[in-house]
Each structure stands twice: as structure tokens, then as C-alpha cells.
């Protein structure tokens, strides 16, 4: 046991001082792949890291009002589910797998995608939508979750993330 003369105080300022920044690109639309980005963004925000989430391609579904409440998980082609692949395309299997995944996630106290995005925005996270994906799907700001700050192009993204750590999901 060591006795310290001065008070041992945790250092809480590292991240704020170093100006650490992280950008997470969410390119997937399946329910399982929506979570890694959200959980890491939430963790980064909790450590005081400036965090940006960029939604592109299938990930656009995560921030599209008409789809974000309905993301699905399918075992088709996903051998990590340890199911015989031949039965995965049967009617009802995707629905069941989605239901089970949602339950497992809820049992851990992890919120669903819309609520999670709300928590991330509340914690200071920035949400950006990909211009190209918006154009391809003929979507505008009105179709997107209100927490999204704007629809930006690839060059805008590169500018915004100068010096940032990048994560592609």
C-alpha cells in the first residue's frame, strides 16, 4: 500500500486538450451493422472526443424517417449466425432473426436506432448525410431525421474531417 502525500486526482482533460476528432462512416443498412457506429460514437462522445457520423449508401436508411424504425437483420449469407445457409431465405426467417436481435439488444439496455441517435445528438455528436446517396434515392432534408445537420458532399466530408480518426463501417 502506498501513501501519497498530495491528492491523487484522475486526469480528465486529455481528449479536450489534444483536440481529438473521430469520424465514423456508416454505410450499412442492416440492423446489426447499425450498432457498431452508434456504440463507438457514443463512447467517443463520453470521452469528450468531437464525433461526426456520416451516413452513406445503405447507411442512409439509419437516418431516413421512413426507414429508421424498421431496419432488419437477416442471416442470409451471414455464416457467423451459425445457421445452415440453405434455410435462411425461407419466409419468416428474417423477421424472426430481426425480432431476436432486437430483444437481445434491448435486454442489455441499449436503445433502438432512433433513440440512440437522439442520445448521440444530445451528447454533442454531429450527423451528416451523403449528398450522392440523397441524390440517388431522390431524398431531401425533409425526408431525414431532424437531428441530421446537413446533406454534404464527399469533399465537404474530407474538409470536415481534417486531422480526424476515420472509421468505415
Amino acid at each position: 500500500m502506498t501513501i501519497t502525500e498530495t491528492m491523487l486526482v484522475p486526469n480528465f482533460e486529455d481528449e479536450a486538450e489534444t483536440g481529438r476528432k473521430i469520424a465514423i462512416i456508416c454505410s450499412k443498412g442492416n440492423l446489426d451493422m447499425a450498432y457498431p457506429g452508434l456504440i463507438l460514437a457514443n463512447a467517443a462522445l463520453g470521452e469528450g472526443v468531437e464525433t461526426h457520423l456520416f451516413f452513406t449508401f445503405w447507411g442512409f436508411d439509419m437516418i431516413t424517417k421512413s426507414r429508421m424504425h424498421d431496419l432488419k437483420f437477416t442471416p442470409v449469407g451471414n455464416t457467423a449466425t451459425h445457421m445452415p445457409m440453405g434455410i435462411t431465405p425461407f419466409p419468416g426467417v428474417t423477421g424472426m432473426a430481426t425480432h431476436q436481435l432486437k430483444k437481445s439488444i434491448a435486454d442489455l439496455g441499449v436503445p433502438e436506432v432512433p433513440e440512440f441517435l437522439e442520445q448521440i445528438v444530445g451528447a454533442g455528436g454531429h450527423l451528416w448525410a451523403c449528398r450522392l446517396s440523397a441524390d440517388m434515392n431522390h431524398l431531401t432534408d425533409a425526408d431525414l431525421y431532424e437531428g441530421v445537420e446537413g446533406i454534404i458532399s464527399a469533399s465537404d466530408f474530407i474538409e470536415k474531417t481534417a486531422g480526424a480518426q476515420l472509421l468505415f463501417i
Binding site: M1, T2, I3, T4, E5, T6, M7, L8, V9, P10, F12, E13, E15, A16, I39, N42, A43, G46, E47, G48, L108, G109, V110, P111, F116, Q119, G122, A123, G124
Partner: protein, 104 residues
Amino acid sequence: MPVTTINNREIHVNDEGFLTEYDEWDEDLAKVLAQNIGIDLTDEHWKVIRFLRDDFKTQGETPTTRRVQTAGGVPTKEQFELFPKKPAKKMAYIAGLPKPHGCV
């Protein structure tokens, strides 16, 4: 396990400085801990600190940011305002509890 001196009392802490003995904490100590990290405790802060203490007692672990919002009734945004940059860790430190381990 290091022992540090706060308020002329010997307090057990871990290598980072977080308290390790639940019962060594009291509200006077909290004020000193808050001062150490530059926070002035208002009623709003106390509401959160007391929730953390009670919840730790019943759940056996420090509540996460999300639990402080859903069970404690303090929105995430407010937590970031009261305890800037690293709310979960700061709240736990002032409340004399370990850092939360949950992911959300």
C-alpha cells in the same frame, strides 16, 4: 492499492484516483472531489450524484449515461452541461464510485 489524503482523511483509491470503498465517501468529500476537477456543485449536480449513489447500492454497479437518463431522469444533454466533456467519469469520480463499465 494506493491511499490518498483528502480532507485530512485517508481514502482508498485506485491507480487513477477513483475511490474504491463505497463507505469512505460522504457529501463533504464530494465537494472536495468536485473542486479537484473544477466543478461547483449545484442542486442539479447533487440530484445526479445522489442518484448515482442510490443506484450503485441497488444495482451493484455505476449507472451509465443512458441509465442516468432513463432511470435517473436527467437527459444526456444536461449531463454534458453539468459535467462537461467526460460526464460519466466525472460523475462517478465525484460520487466516489468506480467508472461505469456499460457500453451505453
